[in-house]
Each structure stands twice: as C-alpha cells, then as structure tokens.
Symmetry: C2
Subunit: 217 residues, 2 copies
DNA sequence: GCCTAATTTGTACAACTGTACAAATTAGGC
DNA sequence: GCCTAATTTGTACAGTTGTACAAATTAGGC
C-alpha cells in the first residue's frame, strides 16, 4: 500500500484541474501524476464527478469557516471604514492563503474554482451555488452596514466584481507581469491581496460617498 | 451549397465555446448546431485550433478598433475625472456590445475569451497575449494621465481587476441575480456596464486621491 | 446544358475517454 | 505466519474525439 494514495490523488486532482480545467484532465492524467493506476480512482471515488465533489467538500468547509471567523473579528470594529477594510480582507485572504497547513493551499483550490466556474461544469455549478452563496450573502450584509445608504444593486455588483477580480488574479497572473514590463510580479500573492483589498475598498466606499462629496464641493 | 455555411460554423463555434469552453465542445457539436457535417469543418478550417484562431481574428480586429476609436475620443476630454470615466467606458463598452452589427455580438465573444483564458488553452493564450496586451497598454497609459502620481503597480493591478470583473460578469451573471434575491438582473448588460465603470472609476481615482484626502483632513 | 472547381457528405481511422471488474498485492489483527 | 479485508493493478469495453480522404453534390462561367 502507498502512504496515503487517496490524499495524493486528491491533491493532484486539484493541481491538474486548476491548471487545465475539468474536461481537459483525464483520470489517467491524475493517476499518472500520482504514480498510480486508473483503477485506484474508480476505487476511491467511484466516478470523476464524485472525485470533484470530494475535492470541493474538502476545501470548501475550512475556507468558509476561516472566512466566517475573520468576518466575526472584523464585525467587532466600530469604525465603519476600518471595518470595511477588515471585511474585505476576511473575504479575500482565505481564498489566497493556504487554508489548512497540510494541503496544497487555498490559492490552488480557488484557482480551480475559477476555472470550473468558467467552464460552466454542471457538477461544479451546483456545488458552488450551494456552498458559497450563503457565505457571500453574509459578507454583503456586513458590507452594507459599512456603507450606509448604499443601494443593494451597487453592493451586489461590486461583490461580483470582487470575486471576478480575485479569480482572474489567480487565473492569469502573468498578464500583470507582462503589462508592467516585468516591473510588477503578478505571482506575488501578498501584493495581489493588498491591491485587491485597496481597490475594492475604494469601489465599495464610493457607494456611500456621494453625499459627502457633494457636501464638500 | 448552403447560404454561407462557413459563417454559420464560425458563429456557432463562438456560441458553443463561450458556453462550455474549448475542450468540452467537439467539432461534431459545432457541425450539428449548424446542420452540417463534420467534414465541412476540416474543409473550411483545417483543424480545431485553426478554427479557434479564425474566430479570434474575426472578432479581435473590430473590437480593438472600436476601443481605440473610443479611446481617441476620450483623450480629447480635458477634465481628468471625466476623461477617466470616458476611458473606462471605451474599454468596457466594446466588450459588451455587438462590435459589428452582423455577428453574434461582442459579449458572446468576450465571454468566450473569458472561458478560454480560464481553461488555459495554449492556442488561445498565445493569440490573447498578442492581440490584447498592446491595447491594454495603451489604456493603462491613458489612465495613468488621469491619475497623476499613481504608481504603475496600482494601475496595472486595477486594470487586471477590471478585466477580471468584466469577464466574470459575463461568465456568471446568474450569481448576481441569486445574491440579490432576484432584485437585480445579472443579465442586464447595460446595468453591468454602468456598475463596472462606476466601480472601476472609484478604484482608479483612489490611486491619486490620497494627497487630496489627507489635505482635506 | 456542360465542365471544372468549390463545396459538402460519408465513412474510416487511431487515439483517448470514463467506467467496470477480475486478478494480484498488501495491511494489520490474531 | 495466517487469514481476511482493504487496496492496487491490469485489462477490457463501448463511446467519443480530431483528422483524413474518397465519393457525391453543387455552383457559376462559358
């Protein structure tokens, strides 16, 4: 027996799916990357779809738990602007940083989510809708309280843009490097988190700023 | 002979690729959607990769032309903030709206780009890098002039977030509808453009605002 | 109306896909 | 060391894939 072949298969599945999507990766690819036989995959997971489901459940639970934990901390901040910043960090950081220490890290899983979401994979879509919308709703509620008077439409769209930005930062980091002529490193995740939080902060904050602005002028 | 089977094949290729990605769509799917035979695809395009290339080139040229046209108009605006807004619109609108009247529209093609970019398709990646980075660079330069003193890092990352938001708005519009409890229509493209431009405007503007802000306080 | 070139069809091919299952191997309790 | 259950392997299967190419069909100039 192998030292936890099952774990290795799951890990390699995330890696390969995140790199090329669901359809382009065959079970034989995953098996080969794990130094195992195709049959081991049917044995452990039954089918390709069930393997995907297992991958999701493995990462979804700790990531959303971490998000809620950080969200709870953020909500204790009384200053609205500082709280807004903390909430955004609570949403973004767990997606970029390794969720539990052992596995490949939240970033790889998040990237996989991004790719599968784009592929429109029916299996994945159902799981995503179930697992993440609830968390997203809690965040929108928290964000709304930081920007009094902000219309729901603006909040929802900005949360959509936040997720899209998050995804694309992981999907195509090299574009950042290229566009900057090599000055900026698109693979620097700490920088990506910082920039994403700053940019989102400004866009959310502007939803409630209108009054202040016109008052100042 | 069919009334322009070639055109129909290209159109259906965009539709199907944008819906399910490159790998999941077979040449037989495209042929069937066009009421034609598989062989017609090899005849007209030679291979699946060449078909993709043809699709790209067909939409890329008019879309980037339209972008540059609108960018040129925007650059004639003297007020920095109004110019910033116009530049953002020049980038976003052609991606959402039908580029030339005849074909399926820019939105469908942009969605296809988003999906292929996520899939990491090597053929697509090469074409994207060639065709779009130059345009993106021109936009970043224009944006930089609207926000004096803004660091390149912030500009590039925000342009990355802009594209990611744009993509995800087209990839998963239903999430907007779901998260808002049906109040907001994620498929309302005019609203999406408005929200995206507003949100990006705030995030870009904040790059140069720091001085003003601290001066005001 | 004929003839040539362009188009479309049909079919064949090897490679690869997910899945199923028998056989071989291995683990750990006794 | 043995025995049973868990795991891993090997292989077979039907279905699908991109591509190639001969045959059939069609278009448009003459």
């Amino acid at each position: 027996m192998r030292p936890n072949l099952r774990e290795a298969l799951l890990r390699n599945a995330v890696t390969l799916f995140s790199r090329s999507g669901y359809n382009a990766v065959s079970l034989r690819d995953i098996a080969k990357a794990s130094g195992a036989n195709v049959g081991s995959l049917t044995y452990h997971f039954g089918s390709k779809a069930k393997l995907l489901r297992e991958v999701y459940e493995r990462h979804t639970v700790p990531m959303n738990a971490r998000r809620r934990e950080l969200l709870g901390e953020a909500l204790r901040i009384s200053d609205a602007d500082q709280r807004l910043m903390a909430i955004l960090r609570a949403y973004v950081v767990p997606a970029f940083v390794s969720s539990s220490e052992g596995d490949g890290g939240g970033a790889e899983f998040t990237r996989m989510r991004a790719v599968l979401s784009a592929e429109g994979n029916p299996d994945a879509q159902a799981i995503i809708a179930d697992a993440f919308d609830e968390t997203s709703r809690a965040f929108i509620k928290a964000l709304a309280d930081c920007v009094p008077g902000a219309p729901l439409e603006g909040l929802v769209w900005r949360s959509q843009f936040l997720l899209g930005s998050l995804y694309y930062a992981l999907i195509n980091p090299d574009r950042v490097t290229r566009l900057s002529g090599g000055t900026v490193d698109g693979n620097d995740r700490e920088a990506a988190v910082y920039q994403l939080v700053e940019a989102s902060y400004a866009s959310f904050r502007s939803l409630g700023v209108e009054i202040r602005q016109s008052a100042a002028i």
